[in-house]
């Protein structure tokens, strides 16, 4: 019994299943379904593992904390949905087994108590994703290459930051050390999340990769980065409580949001629009990071929850568009609303929520963020309101294009299971929009416990 409930199973199960899935990669549907099943089994184990169970792994303590359990349960469920979707709509043969490898590593990152080890495993997991970013049918590797550079350059910055946080414990009177560590942290996280000035990889990855792989990175991979960031800021509260650092994060957020919103307004291609939507949302995440605890971390988690649901919806919707693989223009999607209503619904709800349109979860989470921002940053809210309106207009332009005259092309019907997944995500988005307190209150309690 004791072995059966060891937290190591959360790491081992996905990693052990990965070779089996790899062996079945030519039967893509079966491989994806097996991977999804493995994710659901790991989710079940995650929910039944007691909190007080810890073990040693390579000389480091591995334990499942309450916040880690909630986060892991969420990402396992999301990964299971992505894999089920990928079994019907191909995202490349590598997607199934790469997802399992990355999820196994993410479990380790969440539970391991050593900062360096967690960060190095995170880097390895993120670099592995390069293999899933590149479709053989696409003729450019620029997106994957830029992504690799962004991830690889961020690693050294964060490793040095972790070393400085440990040095601070030994030398608490050094006043310059916290600021240096915090700036390295902000730079590293900016590179990993693809915020300004590191947005090049995000744009190119969105143009060249399967939509669901982009969704997986923007939801699950970015989720673990935010989880570790909150973890570090809880362990070392002085790290992000410096006024200059908070201002820097707010500035990065505002610039990213503005750039994303303005570029979205003038966009005519769906994949590029997806990139600017993610940049816009990343900017909002950075703004919420400038809010002090306890509201700040809860808001970040709420924004991430909205992001995970919304990017999954957009990715799934885009994956169903046959034309999105070759043609990216809005004009080529005429009549989509009438021919593929579920596909149009997924993209519309996801995109509008990412843009912060009223009646979506994106609007509610941003409204709460704006209310929690310090008074000195409130004057910038006019800019945020304008760029949010620009982003919403950009999304509405896409909707208007899809509602146009019917295209002559005949579309296939989707499997009812895909409708189910999309409707579930849409319902979750609308529920979060009207009842954010149902997730905020438990989040605040969990974050207080740690």
């Amino acid at each position: 019994m004791s072995q059966a409930l060891s937290p190591l199973w959360l790491i081992a199960l996905p990693l052990v299943t990965a070779p089996l899935v790899f062996a079945m990669r030519r039967r893509e549907r079966l491989a994806c379904l097996l991977a999804a099943l493995s994710m659901l089994l790991t989710l079940r184990l995650c929910l039944s593992t007691p909190f007080d169970w810890s073990t040693d792994f390579l000389g480091r303590t591995v334990a499942l904390q309450p916040s880690g359990r909630i986060f892991l349960a969420g990402v396992f469920l999301l990964a299971a949905m992505h894999l089920t979707y990928a079994s019907f709509v191909s995202q490349g043969r590598a997607f199934s087994y790469l997802t399992l490898i990355v999820m196994g590593l993410l479990s380790a990152i969440t539970m391991v108590q050593s900062g360096e080890m967690a960060l190095l495993l995170l880097e390895i997991a993120l670099v592995f994703m390069v293999l899933g970013l590149q479709l053989p049918s696409l003729r450019s590797v620029r997106g994957a290459l830029y992504y690799l550079l962004g991830v690889s350059v961020a690693g050294p910055l964060l490793l040095i930051m972790i070393h400085l946080t440990q040095t601070r414990v030994l030398n608490p009177i050094d006043s310059a050390l916290p600021q240096t560590a915090a700036i390295l942290l902000v730079l590293g996280v900016t590179a990993l999340l693809g915020a300004v000035p590191f947005q090049a990889w995000l744009y190119n990855v969105c143009l060249e990769s399967p939509p669901l792989v982009v969704s997986f990175i923007a939801s699950v991979a970015h989720g673990i980065i935010l989880f570790k960031l909150l973890d570090w800021s809880r362990e070392f509260p002085w790290l992000i409580q410096d006024g200059h650092v908070l201002s820097l994060m707010f500035a990065i957020g505002l610039v990213s949001t503005s750039l994303g919103g303005v570029l979205l307004l003038f966009q005519k291609e769906l994949r590029a629009a997806f990139a600017w939507l993610i940049l816009f949302d990343t900017g909002c995440l950075f703004m919420s990071l400038s809010v002090l605890p306890p509201e700040g971390p809860a808001l970040v988690t709420l924004l991430w929850l909205n992001r995970a649901i919304s990017v999954s919806l957009v990715g799934m919707g885009m994956g169903m568009l046959p034309k999105a693989q070759t043609s990216r223009s809005f004009a080529s999607l005429n009549g989509l609303v009438w021919q593929k209503p579920f596909c149009a619904l997924a993209v519309a709800v996801g995109a509008l929520s990412l843009a912060g349109f009223p009646l979506t979860a994106g609007f509610t989470s941003r409204w709460l963020t704006v209310q929690s921002l310090p008074t000195e940053t409130q004057r910038w809210m006019v800019v945020l309101a304008v760029v949010s309106a620009a982003a919403c207009l950009g999304c509405l332009r896409w909707l208007a294009a899809t509602a146009g005259k019917s295209s002559s092309e005949a579309y296939d019907n989707e499997h009812p299971l895909l409708w189910g997944i999309i409707l579930l995500l849409v319902a979750a988005n609308i529920f979060l929009a009207f009842y954010p307190q149902t997730s905020l209150q438990p989040l605040l309690r969990i974050l207080e416990v740690g």
Binding site: M117, L120, L148, S152
Partner: protein
Amino acid sequence: MPSWDQILVILPYLSETTAVVGLTGTSALLVLLYDWRLSMLILLLQYILANVLLIHFIPAEIALFKFIVGAMVCTVLFMSVRRAETETAAPRSTRWKGGVRVWAHHEVFSVGLPFRLLTIVLLGLVVHTLLQRSPLQGVSPHLNFAIYWLGLIGLLIMMLSARPWKVGLGLLTFLTAFELFYVTLERGLLVTALLGVLQMTIVLSLGYLITMRAESLRIGGAFDE
């Protein structure tokens, strides 16, 4: 069997100064040269010199482990680029233009040898200024110079090139600079091993991208040309 200290006494030319001078030269050559075979050889030499420098600060076994990782990195990169170059080799008639081989093609900027030479000189001045104004604490002057130099050269190579193998050389040079600095801070075996795994993962990803790009070129031209 002689210890590393005895070996270093026997081979006095393996001093910190020799290693730093060698690293300066090899990394500059990585910016200047476009021949992939020579570049791979220089990268291997760079790993050897970096580990000769490290022997003066860390246990020789760890330096040896890092060298083995470096050699594996070079092997994977060499095999990937060789396959890519074989698949995409242009006909002999198009590889020469007016009797002069066309080296600087498919780059971010059209930069010739004089531009790159001048950039290296300017980079030297930047490194000198950095060493004067903000030297890294707890690091010897030789190591300080090597870290700044390799880090900036790595970034320069990444900025100037669009080809995956050349960008990879820049990335690996940058990571070598980071490792030179990081070993002075953290010498744990687990962290060292994980850094090695990370380097191998990065180079395998690079190899994949190099091969994919060559395949794209073979089929009908890559979009990032």
